[in-house]
């Protein structure tokens, strides 16, 4: 009878040990595993956000690129940032030759890169297609088109002033009209009008035939809100100079 008594009193030992082992397994194996997995999930989410941010910045990256001759056998590249993210130019392509570089251009800032030497065979026409690659993988082409050498000197297909007006509409159902005038102190005077503009309006003034030395222009943008009534109000007025071949052949003017 005493033996049976002892057996009954010790009946719970295995249960207690089993419970302890279960808790031991839970704390020493399962919980660290779950914590590790959770940490990996958090890391993954952080990296996904970083990737999304990088892709977003890449899509917002906008620069204007102008390539132009500098001296007899060199090219320069002007980079104008048109975005709110800093841009790093990692490579400049001149035709099929990559020129490694590392130039940081701040938001809405501009930089001149170069000089890049080019080979000009005497008496032979040469064309140079210039583009630049950014660290985010965007490639921007020369807005002024190819840089050309006609065998004796640098030539450009077109010179001009490109005026872009970010229209906010006028006072009559959102319609407005814009009038843009470009003139110099000599005999160049041209006016272009865009009626009932809504959204972005652009004007191109071709100044290819304006002789060198007369390429300082006065640009005026006027706006008339409403249908046919109302007066013209000046919204932009500034001097612009085309310095080709030591500067871009096309000058861009942005206004609102």
């Amino acid at each position: 009878m005493r033996t049976r008594g002892i057996m009954y009193r010790r009946k719970g030992v295995s249960t207690v040990l089993g419970t302890l082992i279960f808790i031991g397994i839970l704390f020493s194996a399962v919980i660290p595993m779950m914590l590790t997995m959770k940490q990996a999930d958090i890391f993954m989410e952080q990296e996904k956000l970083e990737i999304q941010r990088a892709d977003d910045e890449r899509s917002r990256e906008v620069i204007d690129l102008y390539a132009y001759p500098e001296g007899d056998d060199q090219l320069q590249v002007k980079v104008e940032s048109r975005c709110e993210v800093p841009v790093t130019i990692t490579r400049v392509w001149i035709n099929n030759d990559p020129e490694p570089t590392s130039v940081n251009v701040g938001a809405m800032d501009e930089k001149i890169i170069g000089n890049f030497g080019v080979t000009l065979p005497g008496g032979v026409e040469s064309t140079f297609r210039v583009k630049a690659t950014t660290s985010r993988g965007n490639v921007f082409e020369n807005l002024a088109g190819d840089v050309k050498y006609d065998g004796s000197g640098w030539v450009t297909e077109e010179q001009g002033i490109y005026v872009v007006v970010d229209s906010e509409g006028g006072g009559f159902w959102g319609f407005g009209s814009y009038r843009c005038t470009v003139e110099n102190d000599y005999d160049y005077l041209e006016t272009k009008t865009e009626s009932f503009a809504f959204g972005s309006v652009s004007f191109f003034f071709n100044t290819t035939n304006v002789p060198q030395g007369e390429r300082e222009f006065h640009v005026t943008v006027e706006k008339r809100s409403g249908w046919f009534w109302g007066s013209w109000n000046v919204v932009y007025e500034d001097d612009v100079e085309i310095t080709w071949p030591s500067g871009p052949a096309i000058v861009w003017v942005f206004t609102t």
Binding site: I21, P32, M33, A40, K48
Partner: protein
């Protein structure tokens, strides 16, 4: 004598029982620990593999066909944060070429470029060339090029 040894069997039985429980428990604990750490390792490596796949960013930056020696050159730019191994396929109207196993480090470009020899089947002017770049992580970049 018999009375003095009466309590010995329950003690031995308890010790044996406890030993069995501890042995089986230890084995289960050991197996669980191993299984949990393997599961965690697999999970982490799967997560990292997926992450690298997501982080891969590359593009065909430049293509050039040299008509003098009938060679097509393709520059692939890896602008992502991880190294990429790519296979480059070039598809023309009459040929299908492959150049494989090009390792491009992060923020680097294929240098020298990926080369394709078309001397046996030269490309004609204005011919369209489709360039497909497949990474070993199954990401793809495309570029269409017209022979000048």
């Amino acid at each position: 004598m018999s009375d003095q040894r009466r309590a010995l069997s329950p003690v031995i039985a308890t010790v044996i029982l406890a030993g069995v429980v501890l042995t089986i428990g230890g084995a289960i604990w050991s197996y669980s620990l191993g299984a949990a750490s393997i599961t965690a390792d697999v999970y982490i490596s799967d997560t990292l593999r997926l992450l690298y796949e997501m982080q891969e960013r590359f593009a065909v930056e430049h293509v050039f066909y040299d008509a003098t020696d009938d060679m097509l050159y393709v520059w692939v730019y890896n602008y992502g944060e991880v190294n990429v191994t790519v296979d480059v396929y070039v598809n023309t109207t009459s040929a299908y070429e492959l150049s494989d196993n090009h390792l491009i480090e992060a923020h680097d470009i294929t240098d020298p470029p990926v080369e394709f020899d078309f001397s046996s089947n030269p490309l004609s002017s204005n011919e369209q060339v489709a360039i497909k770049v497949y990474s070993r992580r199954q990401n793809v970049a495309y570029k269409r090029y017209y022979v000048p």
